[in-house]
Amino acid sequence: MQTINNVSRRKFLKALGISSSALVLSVNLPGLSLLPKVFAAEENPEKFIPNVYVEVNSNNIVSIIVHRSEMGQGIRTSIPMIVADELEADWQQIKVVQGLGDKKYGSQNTDGSRSIRNFYKPLREAGASARIMLEQAAAQLWKVPVGECKAIDGKIIHQKSQKSVGFGELVAIASTLPVPEPKDIVLKNKADFKFIGKSNVKLVDGQDIATGKAIYGFDVELENMVYVVIARPPVLASKVKSFDDSQAIKIKGVIKVIQLEDIKDPVGFKPLGGIAVIATNTWAAIKGREALKIEWDVSHHSSYNSSEYKAMLKESCDSPKKILRDKGDTTAALANASSILKAEYYVPELVHAPMEPPAATAHYHDGILEAWACTQTPQSAQGTVAKAVGLAPEKVFINVTLLGGGFGRKSKPDFVAEAAIISKQLALPVKVLWTREDEIQNGYYHAVSYHKLEAGFDQNSQVTSWLHKTALPPIGSTFNAKAKVINFEGSLGMIDMPYDIANIKCTAGKADAHTRIGWMRSVTNINQAFAVCSFADEIAHARKENPKQSLLTLLGSDRHINVNKEKAKYGNYGEKLKEYPIDTARLKQALNKVADMAEFTPVKENGNGMGIAVHRSFTSYVGCVVEVSKNPQGHVKIEKIWMSADCGTIVNPERVISQMEGAAVFGLSLTLFGEITAKDGVIEQSNFDSYRLVRMNEVPPIEVEILPSHEPPGGVGEPGVPPIAPAICNAIFAATGNRYRKLPLAQYNII
């Protein structure tokens, strides 16, 4: 974990008593601070900089540096809430500053639902140490014991003498003080929190968003900038054989057409290559690209056809290359079972489709590279760009704009590298924009997967064995072309299957990747929870038990599960099992809570069906109930979604609820419509007509409750997604008796 350093303790010699009248600052300004002209316009007050996350200015403004990317999860509001609370700052004096990509902040990789999980404590300590130093500064100023000085709402108060002094006036003294040792940092009592755990502040960027002033990756404008659209290979890793740009360059606004370097294995975060059209505006670049004639030297990935690939995955499940978890003797237990239940599940390839496709602006000049990008991961963008343009990382400055959605796509900085390479080549500022077609057809896809499950029962209908065989192309293939079997993906909802069963075996078969495989919101939890939570429901119906009761039986006694003792290597989202155990009591609590909220019953009096699922991911626990109705024609309608969320300690409950609502909608889209298919290696979908997302009229009411908890903070952005698909399909089964095991549901014509 990070320790706090006084990175730039500047000693100010100026006397005290600096004017600090105008304190009130709108917290809605920071969106614009992303642009260089605004950087230049910043006034430069004296600063007290106790650590990398906090700056107290002599003008009484407290700058809080948000080092994580904002993509809708509310982190630009939640991080300041943590720091301001421990600092005892007045919310009105807070200014939010987006951190550049810089390893001094610790990880900035905004994925894995870990911004709060990993930084809650360091950020509290950052605020607290600043507060302690300001209290010490006041004590020194007034020559009183520090114990008599207390920070309250942006001031230090000396109660005995009724004296008070604003933070800004203590900047000079505080800057001369040593940073407290970690052992001397006293955090606030939770009962004294003013922001943490409350929903009492508005979104930091709410005003800018409401007025169209918020700056996203697409919106960055530099002087003399050119606009770039790229024709990338339709089949991964294909090369340009030849191209004819004679028509393209005739188009008004097209400046130039250039060929980019072909990509080499491993693809990683490297640009895909292709032909770039440089223009004075985006439309000219798009038209120019349409006018190009390109002949591709098509790669071996042209063998990729989704229907054949599905059949291959199905077979591959039966030839496991890896055993991921092995408890007891599943083979023997299945052989001795009094009955066996089998089912197969399939989830197709998916793509992120953030409303803002990837976009990056870069300017290579004077031996440095500046970039502005909607990136989830400015440090890996920095590293990737540095390599691409041959600069040292410290010569590469990655400014993070707001992200118009991320969902994992924007943690791959290939698009930032494209802009950097082209800027260097043209010696101009360039903005590379991905169209929707580019985003859907040249993505980092959620892997298509096939699952075969078997459960063995004894004479009393108790489950004695569980076999889960899967096959899917691994994320590792993006970084190593030889990787064909999943690795850490098993830890995301498969090997951590929490049911109390004596014999458990999880295996993975091999699968060659033909697209760039990436991670998408909740990653393999999507398909693995779909298989596991659907199959659990099938077990309930097989033994004629209420699905909720059956789940409680499967979950068994309150206990912490350590699958590492069962020939497994469990990643636990990078956390220690001791601090973040797999806790069946919390699973049951989330299950019971959501069942109560929905008044769960498999079939309601009006004939509506209800489906239930509970799943742990990213160390959080989410229960879900879905209600569906059916009409005489056999069509079903999703009537309502309930969710219970135990995410441990919560910073901003209002944003946790919004993330769960969003996760429900995300899950709904992938359940109903999500399907990417390939023909001869080319992705067949291209825009929102062929890759459908749910619209307002397709979304039922969503009711979310947060379970109060004193456990350490868990993930929030992703854990809401996995239980949605199985809960929907379980509800449809309850309503109609039809079990749907292959997504998306659109293929069955039932919605």
């Binding site: 953030p354 909608v665 929102f688 307002m696």
Partner: protein
Amino acid sequence: MFTLNINGKPNNVDEEGDMPLLWVLRDILKYTGTKYGCGKGLCGACTVHIDGLATRSCVLPISVLGQNKITTIEGLSDEGDHPVQQAWKSLNVPQCGYCQPGQMMSAAALLAENASPNDEQIEQAMSGNICRCGTYPRIKQAIHLATELSSEIKGS
């Protein structure tokens, strides 16, 4: 040369007539509040008002615009206090916020036509606007709130 009436001001634009209004707004005139999402009129991120009607600017060539009044999110109100904007802020509607200018423009056009729409009318008017973050329930709530704010403004 085209003269476009945007947010009450004339703007001269020397571009090809087939250029969609979206790119003229964004790249030529730097009104970047209007967003690109699909380029095919499928997602509504680029919604502006043409004479008060919600219109997808990504498929609207400037050649068809005469003296029509074009309103973008930047021109929806002077102080960012249109009832829709107030409601959006008050309910923390946005997640990433990228689609929200388009959502607000659709909502404002709806309310101009129907001062108190019911859920079904809201769904009908708003189903052309996609939100990948899933803010639909809050958008619906905010439109109801905006109708209340509008009637309060009219009443006062």
